[in-house]
């Protein structure tokens, strides 16, 4: 009987121990801050960013402390799904981008240390892990980084700080011409873009001028479809970039120069541009529409309807490129 009591006691103590000590509970860690990568994964507004981080191979980096900074922290400007969608990008379409370009683009959103909103000021700059610096703009009380509106600030992560932005930031790390060439040679998109523009710039012998490292241009870069549509409007059929050479060289030069601001509004992000009429490098004036939803419409005096920005705010080493969906025309 003594054994019975002893065994029963041991058995009960045993069961009690099992029950009380080994149940998993989240109370032990629910107050721990998530890493930047975990925030992107947990937040339904960052689905595309999550997929991009996986594809761009930065998910592991942003899970861990920043070995490249004494603070161990990163600051990430995180584009929402809507921001990616502006460029036609979502999880299933990220494959249109070359992986190295995607990785570089993500790194352009990341910097070392904790950059809190309290230290973000109009006119200030912040370097990125990619290299090029980003600049901060206060437009009527709203903060922007480059052309991207900062929607939310100071989300604290275990390895740094997250700010939310409404547009993906793009930096080519090259000059205007090299940037156009990168698009044309499929080093950004797997399918080449801006092939007609590059051809036109070569044809008009403007490559050297637009490569000037000392310049700070604002360039409106028409898409291939914009040139094809122009050909149709002129009664021509453009099927390949060299078809642009059917046009008079001086005319092409004059038209292209109307796509460049080199003085008053030079090197401007959308967040720094205002509605109005501006003197372009060419002889025609270029009119910008109102700043709406982060973009402005653009038109030459010969355009029936204004052009829209398809890819705004591409930062190059000698200016800012806004890809537009029409060629800006003078009165022909």
């Amino acid at each position: 009987m003594k054994n019975l009591y002893k065994y029963t006691g041991i058995a009960l103590a045993f069961l009690g121990t099992v029950l009380t000590t080994s149940c998993e509970t989240d109370s032990a860690y629910e107050d721990e801050p998530a890493s930047i990568a975990a925030i992107a994964v947990a937040n339904p507004a960052f689905t595309t960013l999550e997929a991009a981080a996986v594809l761009g191979d930065v998910a592991v980096t942003l899970s861990n402390s920043n070995a490249g900074d004494p603070s161990g922290d990163f600051t990430v400007f995180a584009p929402t799904d809507d921001a990616f969608a502006r460029l036609g990008l979502e999880e299933t379409t990220l494959g249109v981008l070359q992986q190295p370009f995607l990785k570089n683009t993500l790194l352009y959103h990341v910097s070392n240390g904790n950059l809190l909103s309290s230290s973000i000021n109009d006119g200030g700059t912040a370097s990125s892990l990619l290299g090029p610096t980003r600049r901060f703009i206060n437009r009527d009380g709203t903060l922007y980084i480059n052309g991207s509106e900062i929607l939310a600030t100071d989300i604290s992560a275990s390895n740094g700080t997250v700010h939310v932005i409404d547009k993906v930031m793009i930096a080519s790390g090259a000059n205007v011409v090299e940037t156009a060439l990168a698009l044309q040679s499929a080093s950004v998109f797997k399918n080449p873009r801006l092939t007609y523009l590059v051809e036109a710039v070569v044809y008009a012998e403007l490559a050297e001028a637009l490569s000037n490292p000392a310049a700070s241009f604002t360039v409106f870069a028409p898409t291939d479809q914009a040139f094809i549509n122009l050909g149709t409007a002129l009664g021509l059929t453009f099927t390949q970039p060299s078809d642009i050479r059917q046009l008079d060289k001086d005319l092409v030069t004059a038209v292209l120069l109307n796509h460049v601001f080199a003085d008053v509004s030079a090197g401007k992000f959308t967040s720094e541009l205002n509605a109005g009429t501006y003197d372009a490098l060419g002889s025609d004036d270029i009119t910008l529409g109102a700043f709406t939803d982060g973009v402005l419409s653009v038109s030459g005096s010969g355009n029936a309807a204004p052009a829209n920005m398809v890819i705004p705010d591409v930062q190059t080493t000698n200016g800012i490129v806004h890809v537009i969906d029409q060629v800006l025309l003078p009165n022909l």
Binding site: V18, D26, E30, V41, V54, L55, A59, V60, S63
Partner: protein
């Protein structure tokens, strides 16, 4: 009375063991020369993942994961107090990543193969009759090691890996009380030493059940607490190698068994995680057929 006890004992010996998160070692012993073989099937699914600090909707990359497994499980009594337990699962794990995502990443939506073979020895070192039942104390030790050539080191592809490629050595202490009316309770606690950077883990399980001549039923709560040397997915120290993650869970489930004809019986069960860390919030059913001799 003798016949009833035999049937009851028979039912107790035919415990179905199927799901990964349930201890392969029961609180009951096979008599010398007796044994059982169980073929089982289980199917689990999850579209939420227990991450730190919160559970998230949608499995990264794969969206939803379905795991199907077929297991061969056997128990044999070398003597009344010394039994051997064997388990070998074949597992198929399927994700729901979009074709575009698979293309982009070079991943696949399926991983399958023979997983880990395990062999346990259990020894009843003490038992005593109570006025209306019996208490048993059992010690068990086992080894579990990869048999198939599956991989666990494919980066995020290994979110759907079928195992960790770890060799585990596990020791368990088990206490079991059976009441003569068929009600029983089994508690077990143990520790598992693991290789391939998998954190060691404290294991425990409490099972309450009823075993009568016509059927057997149990409900259990099973826990794993991994050593804090493990890393959290997307947390500090995470390098994309999933075996090194710290996997904790509390799981509840039930099993039922009905003898059908002579030594043959069928079983079914359900299990669900109620809390976890670094694993999918899976739930699913299992079915088995057992032959006892």
């Amino acid at each position: 009375m003798n016949l009833n006890l035999r049937l009851l004992a028979g039912a107790l010996l035919m415990l179905p063991v199927t799901m990964l998160a349930q201890s392969p070692v029961s609180g009951f012993m096979k008599a010398k020369g007796e044994g059982s073989i169980t073929a089982s099937f289980s199917s689990e699914k999850y579209d939420e993942v227990f991450l730190v600090p919160q559970k998230v909707d949608g499995v990264p990359v794969f969206n939803e994961v379905q795991t199907t497994s077929y297991s061969l499980y056997a128990e044999y009594g070398i003597s009344d107090n010394f039994n051997l337990v064997f388990n070998l699962p074949y597992i198929k794990s399927e994700g729901e990543a979009t074709p575009e995502t698979l293309d982009n990443l070079g991943y696949e939506n399926e991983r399958k193969g023979v997983q880990d073979v395990s062999l346990y020895a259990k020894y009843r070192f003490a038992s005593t009759a109570t006025p209306k039942g019996m208490i048993n104390f059992i010690a068990a030790a086992g080894i579990e090691t990869p048999l198939g050539d599956y991989r666990a080191d494919e980066g995020l592809q290994s979110i759907i890996a079928i195992g960790n490629r770890s060799t585990d050595i596990t020791g368990l202490a088990i206490a079991n009380y059976k009441h003569n009316n068929g009600i029983f309770a089994t508690g077990q606690i143990g520790y598992s030493l693991r290789s391939n950077s998998v954190p060691n883990a404290l294991l425990s399980e409490l099972k309450l059940g009823y075993a009568a001549s016509k059927f057997y039923l149990d409900a259990y709560i099973a826990n794993q607490l991994s050593d804090d040397s493990g890393v959290d997915i997307l947390g500090e120290g995470f390098n994309g190698f999933f075996p090194a993650t710290r996997v904790n869970y509390t799981r509840i489930g039930f099993n039922a068994y009905v003898p059908v004809y002579k030594g043959i019986g069928v079983s079914g069960g359900y299990a669900n995680y109620i809390e976890g860390r670094n694993l999918g919030d899976a739930d699913g059913f299992n079915w088995g057929i057992t032959y006892s001799f």
